[in-house]
Symmetry: C2
Subunit: 374 residues, 2 copies
């Protein structure tokens, strides 16, 4: 398997917001396109909960990425003009340091010895990658879903960190409904007999807990409307029908999706990242969101929400847009009508690509960016 | 503990829709008010998934019922004028025959030997109670939530079964989103190590699965809006904070609610009733809902839905109202603005009582009902 993954190994200690420190750590990232001469055309994507850095294919790794139709030559995020960086979040398990990584002091995986991870730590580690690449200021910071949280933290930590900002289905803080969903997902995992206080191993993986947590996730990522038109009451024939087992297509769809996820994600990483979202409230220490985002210098911001999103409901994106706007930042907000729910940015490209494409065309035009080095 | 519960022991075999038969069975019920001389003032309430027959207090059982503010002298369902019957659904575990009852052929609980239960079987057993009480035709049939399904089945089986009909947050069939939620709830229960294929006992109760299933239920019964205003991001101090454990008030609220439920409901009953809802589609064998409800004779129908209900969303109640209306039945429909979600009828009495009260006042007035025997 070819890989386009690059690694930043940082020996500067990373102090965590809630205490604890990593003396050294690694962030996995990928890039597309070329950095131009004045290093002014860099875009950074901070991801949702589960993606790797592999957002799109490239000659070095032709396998499709998690945002494949969005990134590439001539795509909405046009790699003929922009230098695109996508990274695997700190705390994740796809190349970056996280609870599944080896703890150098014990020679075994960190697991529960990993410091308590906050969204702010993900942002801080991400900024180190940008610095590592010799970029002073990003052209655009991009954050969908959890990335919509980490990018807000990034801008709070680096008020001049980017000239433009694209936040998709993000949130300034977690609200009780999404906390309740994630809390129950975590409970499903730690209730699995194989969890054993984090001492699971390859042979005794908390697979069942992860599988059910993923199903609960899917319930929050999609919408009733989509499933009504997609599955209706059609009966499934794929999985054997046991007592109280699967009968309908929607059930086998969820089962198949959950099974795909089980092996691909470390349970501890999942728990740490999930909890970091619950903890996130970028208004902490501020009277309101407008005050929390004061001082951020952006030429423009574009905020997109989806009307059927029950996990990061659109009033949260609207709040971000209003707060940026009240801080004098030229901000546009779109509430997208899509039946795809929170996941729309990953599946509803018909709706998303024109919006994202138009934003980056405007940036190209307004900034008069120097062409990348050929 | 005093009890107002009455029991109908029926020796007439009950054949189940999907096969299997109960040679004899019991339905627990309660009544309030007095039947009038021409037996024309009887209301029957078919309940949601979990309630007992004890819908309201009475001299015989002064403990508050599950619909306490709705039923009583001078209440919206006025027991000075109506004879009110509420029963525990067939398949439940609160006095009526269900999977937790003793199987007379083995002397042990039925558990998985109970016949596959359908909503239609609940309706059929309920109609036997009405007959048992010597009532030819109900004044009004009332069904909230799952009861909104069983009452539709009741009317299909007994087209002249009632003169009036009140359906609250019901559905003509289960849609994939609600199926997915219930399917995952069932999976949580049968994944509990104590489930043991239905061979749990008092010492080894699938308590953890039931607890998590109830939490998932709560997620679908309430609304994000309610929890936002009720809990916000307030931190909880009630339960000890363990790694990945409860941190926020919304989490301890769910935990407390789930713990209250665990002991009160038999896991097998829960599974059977849950699955019966998934299976329900009153349009089976019909080209559409209007055709499915053809032939039902009602003087009036009143259908109420709640705008924040994600489990039985309001378009489903609207569909019922339209279908009844297209069959020439005088039908009113209210989509109630309430932040209480599917559970609104159980908690948002400020909104519900005036609507229900007005409907029954109209019935009293239009029908010119004879006064109950004093």
């Amino acid at each position: 398997m070819t890989s386009a993954t690059l690694y930043m190994h940082d020996d500067q200690p990373l102090e965590f917001k809630r205490g604890g420190v990593l003396p050294a750590y690694t962030i996995a990232y990928e890039t597309w396109g070329e950095l131009n001469a004045d290093r002014s055309n860099a875009l950074l994507i901070l991801t949702g909960l589960s993606p790797s850095a592999h957002a799109a294919s490239s000659p070095a790794d032709p396998s499709p990425g998690w945002w494949e139709p969005m990134i590439g030559p001539g795509a909405p995020i046009d790699t003929e003009h922009f230098f695109v960086i996508s990274l695997n979040s700190l705390g994740s398990c796809k190349g970056s340091t996280g609870p599944a990584s080896t703890n150098p002091t014990t020679g075994r995986p960190y697991r529960l010895d990993f410091p308590d991870l906050s969204i702010e730590d993900i942002a801080a580690a991400s900024a180190r990658v940008v610095k590592h690449l010799g970029i002073d200021r990003l052209c655009t910071l991009i954050g969908p879903s959890m990335g919509g949280m980490s990018t807000l933290a990034y801008l709070q930590q680096n008020p001049r960190g980017a000239r433009h900002y694209l936040n998709i289905s993000g949130a300034p803080k977690s609200e009780p409904f999404s906390i309740a969903i994630r809390s129950l997902q975590r409970e499903l995992i730690v209730s699995d007999p194989n969890w054993r206080g984090g001492q699971y191993d390859e042979k005794n993986w908390p697979e069942n807990g992860m599988r059910m947590a993923r199903k609960l996730g899917m319930l929050s990522y999609r919408s009733a409307e989509e499933w009504r038109s997609r599955f209706g009451r059609r009966v499934q024939n794929y999985f054997p029908t046991e007592p109280f087992g699967m009968n309908y297509e929607v059930e086998s769809y969820l089962e198949a999706a959950a099974r795909r996820f089980i092996g691909a994600f470390d349970p501890c990483s999942y728990l740490y990242l999930s909890r970091s979202m619950d903890w996130f409230d970028c208004t902490e220490g501020h009277p309101n969101l407008t005050s929390a985002l004061q001082g951020i210098e952006l030429q423009s911001a574009y905020i997109i929400g989806v009307d059927t999103d029950i996990l990061f409901p659109p009033h949260q994106q609207e709040a971000i847009a209003n707060a940026l706007s009240e801080n004098g930042i030229q901000t546009a907000y779109t509430q997208l009508p899509s039946i795809m729910g929170h996941d729309a940015f990953l599946v509803d490209y018909d709706h998303f690509n024109p919006l994202v494409g138009a934003y980056f065309k405007r940036i190209l035009h307004e900034d008069g960016l120097a062409a990348p080095a050929a």
